[in-house]
């Protein structure tokens, strides 16, 4: 019993000690929806170059966005780094982001940032189709995602209906094609018995493992698989016609309004747009650099050659609830 008492007291002391250390004044706190494996090396470089200490909270983009919304203006975060524009948009809609300086915004083509300048795109992620090269030739794939509701694709196209990038794609489709057409497409995919997966990476894994023939994903997962296993029998297909399926979605960053170290935060966001960081995204995470001048990885088609659907990314977040409703209505949720 005594040992237990001592342990409990030790716990109380130890835990209290731990709690105080998280928000000392010269530390910049970042909420990162991008994983530690991908961005930690970059953040270490920034710390070394700038002398600013960074503490990072890694998590899922949407869940971190929900956390910031619950925290409101009490959020300990200075910067929110997100995988997708919709999570950034939800924070912008709640009025929790500060306005970014125009020099920062001007570094990136307008279409990859918030129109009102509350967050900026950092790296690009193209929506693509991953396919099993032993079973399918690129020539037989349709020109847009609309072709996949054809019965001949029944059961052959994997989708991740609960995933943030799929929902952003659905939101984009609503903006481009309207609610009714989008619902009809989702229902067509459901009627086709399209297998559903929790996220993009599991679809790519399933295609590589021969469990499904194709799937709607983001482009870089396959490149990561190929980096480890160059003979994996799968390839990326970019839709040749502009549609929601050919959307390039930026990962991005915004600075929290309530932040008490705005200069350090701004320095960090600028760093993410530096040639060094853009090179890193191109070569290490296989994403599209968004600042002109840095080339994408390997034989990826140039960013300008991907047909761009005409939408404003800031419109995605307000469309997200409807996208989720439609996915649910189609029976995919």
């Amino acid at each position: 019993m005594h040992r237990l008492t001592i342990l409990v007291i030790a716990f109380a002391i130890g835990a209290t000690g731990c709690s105080g250390s998280s928000d000392s004044s010269n530390t910049l706190t970042i909420y990162s929806g991008r994983s530690e494996e991908l961005v930690a090396p970059l953040i270490e470089r920034f710390e070394a170059e700038s002398g600013i200490d960074i503490s990072v909270r890694y998590g899922d983009s949407a869940e971190l966005a929900a956390t910031i919304l619950e925290e409101g203006d009490r959020s300990p975060a200075s910067v929110f780094l997100s995988q997708d524009p919709a999570s950034l948009g939800s924070i912008a809609l709640a009025g929790l982001f500060a306005q970014l300086p125009s020099e920062t915004l001007n570094m990136v083509p307008e279409r990859f940032s918030d129109a009102d300048g509350r967050w900026v795109g950092i790296s690009g992620r193209a929506r693509t189709v991953v396919y099993d090269t032993t079973l399918i030739s690129a020539g037989s794939l349709p020109p847009t995602e609309d072709g996949f509701v054809d019965p001949r694709w029944a059961g052959r196209v994997g989708i991740a209906p609960t995933n943030g990038s799929f929902l952003a794609f659905v939101a984009a489709k609503i903006l481009l094609d309207g609610e009714a057409t989008t619902l009809a497409w989702l229902e067509g995919m459901e009627a086709n018995g399209s297998p559903t997966y929790p996220k993009n990476s599991t679809i790519v894994g399933a295609v590589v493992d021969g469990q499904v023939e194709t799937g709607l994903v983001n482009h870089y997962y396959l490149l990561r698989v190929l980096a480890e296993d160059p003979v994996a029998p799968a390839a990326n297909y970019f839709f040749p016609e502009a549609s929601a399926g050919s959307l390039v979605m930026p990962s991005g960053a915004g600075i929290l309004e309530a932040d008490d170290a705005p200069e350090a935060a701004a320095t960090f966001v600028e760093f993410l747009l530096s040639v060094e960081a853009q090179e890193y995204f191109a070569q290490e995470t296989f994403e599209y650099p968004l600042v002109p001048g840095t080339e994408p990885f390997g034989d990826l088609p140039p960013l300008d050659s991907i047909p761009t659907p005409d939408i404003d990314l800031a419109d995605l977040a307000p469309m997200l609830d409807l996208a989720t409703d439609l996915v649910a209505e189609a029976g995919l949720l």
């Binding site: 409990v8 890694y58 995933n163």
Partner: protein, 544 residues
């Protein structure tokens, strides 16, 4: 447990009731005030997320509430209920069967079998699911080794198998302990009167095991209800999958709260159902003074028993470990360095040990009130502990974020809050085994202490707690094991920079870095196997 003061074997046959029921054995004394204070303190972190959900739902618009009456919501409810029923049924069959073989037969090496069979509990359900998926299919591990393709194991069948394998040890551990303390005299008498073995099992053994089976099945059912990792990987549309999807796909967090309240209702229905089945069962208060003679197995029987146990161990332990090792091996073959993230190891050990300690302390007032001072209030206290166990952790975590950032100041994103959340969502596992121990303590012993002039506090400290220590420790071990696997609450509530193995596995697997994910998963299994080893081996003393 050998209690020096326990009187000789005595079959009390007290009708055991669920929480909130009446007892023929009510203590005449009233609970001391500080016991209620302690219980109230335990109840705060449990009631808080539940309360926050109810408040949010109460403020929801009619349109949001209408999600409850969607045909799709109903369909998901049915699917979750189906999965929960199938998993629970299978876990009972497998758990009781394995317990009977390892406790009551002369199968060679049954102590070792006992440890091996319980070990799938330390494997996170998402790792088991992932290993099934990567072993099956045309390019799976099985096909690559044997050349024969196993059909892809997913959907209902996959979720059922993965969850059965990862939860049946709850039934196994609790029933094995109960089998050890059942007095063999009754079975001997039945056999002596000419009843065939199967009938003895059905009419004498099984009724005595009912409370243990019920306790194990309740944990299995509620865990299945709250699981997200396995169902999402197996692509099975369960209720939790939709709740998580609401957080990813909506700016408004109210629909997720509405669905979570629906989940609480299902959990309460399950808890109520378990209480009803316990109503007529009986238990025995004392460890028999001689163990049951092991049943002799013929050589065919031995082979069958070893095959059955071997099949469990292969699916629940060998296969996941083989898949993990194959990933590590593939990575090293490609020249990737396999490193162990020591910070994550430290974080997992610290968080899980503290959670276990806090849960053990919190379990005492709940168990004492539930057994000695049974009332309507103590019944609801126990039920809320079980409800907390059934909630998806994302829901709990979001509610705690909201509360702690506003009212707990510097404790927001601190280890204190994280550990308290761990302890409260997993408390049901500690109160279960502590209560079972408590039921074995003869109240006469405590009465004697009181009669000799000791106060209730001294009696609790000197008499009750030492006597229920085995149950407390077993409960603590279970909490430790499940905390090691916990992910959603850890992600949202951990101190910034605090790393655990589960977070490491998630983060690496997300980026398809399977070598790294597998290395962390193997470390998690090795660390978790240690308390599991003691839990099972010491079980001869531990009346779980």
């Amino acid at each position: 447990m050998t209690s020096p003061v326990a009187p000789a074997v005595r079959v009390r046959g007290v009708p055991s009731t669920g929480p909130g029921g009446t007892s023929a054995h009510r203590s005449p004394r009233r609970a001391p005030w500080w016991l209620w204070v302690a219980a109230a303190v335990v109840l705060i972190p449990i009631a808080l997320p539940i309360g926050a959900l109810v408040v949010r739902v109460a403020g929801a618009s009619d349109e949001t509430l209408s999600i409850l009456f969607d045909a799709r919501t109903f369909e998901l409810l049915v699917r979750s209920a189906l999965l929960t029923t199938l998993v629970t049924a299978a876990a009972i069959v497998v758990g009781v069967g394995a317990a009977w073989i390892t406790v009551r037969t002369d199968l060679p090496g049954r102590s070792l079998w006992g440890v091996l069979v319980a070990l799938p509990l330390v494997v996170p359900s998402y790792v088991i699911a992932l290993s099934f998926l990567s072993a099956s299919g045309p390019r799976g591990l099985f096909a690559r080794i044997t050349g024969t393709t196993l059909p892809v194991l997913d959907g209902l069948a996959g979720a059922w198998l993965a969850l059965t394998i990862s939860t049946f040890p709850y039934v196994f551990l609790i029933v094995a302990a109960a089998l050890r303390r059942i007095d063999p005299a009754l079975e001997d008498a039945a056999r002596g009167l000419g009843a065939p073995p199967l009938r003895v099992f059905r009419t004498v053994t099984l009724p005595q095991l009912r409370p243990a089976i019920g306790a194990g099945a309740l944990l299995v059912a509620l865990y299945t209800l709250s699981d997200f990792g396995a169902v999402s990987l197996m692509r099975f549309d369960a209720f939790t999958r939709v709740i998580y999807a609401q957080y990813a796909g909506r700016l408004d967090r109210t629909p997720a709260a509405v669905l979570s309240v629906a989940l609480i209702v299902i959990a309460l229905a399950i808890i109520w159902g378990e209480e009803r089945t316990r109503g007529s069962a009986a238990y025995f208060s004392h460890r028999p003074n001689r163990p049951a003679l092991p049943r002799h197995l013929s050589s065919a029987g031995r082979a069958a028993a070893a095959c059955a146990l071997g099949l469990i161990v292969i699916t629940g332990l060998v296969l996941p470990v083989a898949v993990l090792i194959s990933w590590v091996a593939e990575g090293s073959a490609l020249g990737e360095g396999v490193t162990i993230n020591w910070a994550a190891v430290g974080g997992s050990l610290l968080g899980s040990s503290l959670a276990a300690i806090v849960a053990m302390v919190a379990a005492v007032p709940v168990a004492v009130l539930a057994v000695r001072y049974r009332s309507r209030v103590s019944g609801w206290l126990e039920r809320s502990v079980f409800v907390a166990f059934s909630l998806p952790h994302i829901t709990v975590a979001i509610a705690v974020v909201f509360f702690s950032v506003r009212y707990l100041g510097p404790f927001y994103q601190s280890l204190v809050v994280l550990v308290v959340v761990y302890a409260s969502v997993f408390l049901a596992q500690a109160t279960g085994s502590t209560k079972a121990s408590m039921l074995q303590v003869d109240p006469a012993v405590e009465e004697a202490s009181r009669g000799l002039g000791r106060g209730p506090w001294t009696t609790l400290k000197r008499i009750t707690i030492p006597l229920i220590r085995p149950g407390l420790l077993a409960g603590g071990a279970l909490v430790f094991l499940t905390t090691m696997k916990e992910l959603p609450a850890t992600l949202l509530l951990r101190p910034t920079g605090f790393d655990t193995l589960a977070v490491d596995i998630w983060s690496a697997a997300n980026e398809l870095l399977y070598t790294e994910a597998a290395a962390s998963a193997l470390v998690l299994l090795v660390i978790s196997a240690v308390p599991m080893y003691f839990l099972v081996l010491r079980q001869k003393d531990v009346p779980v």
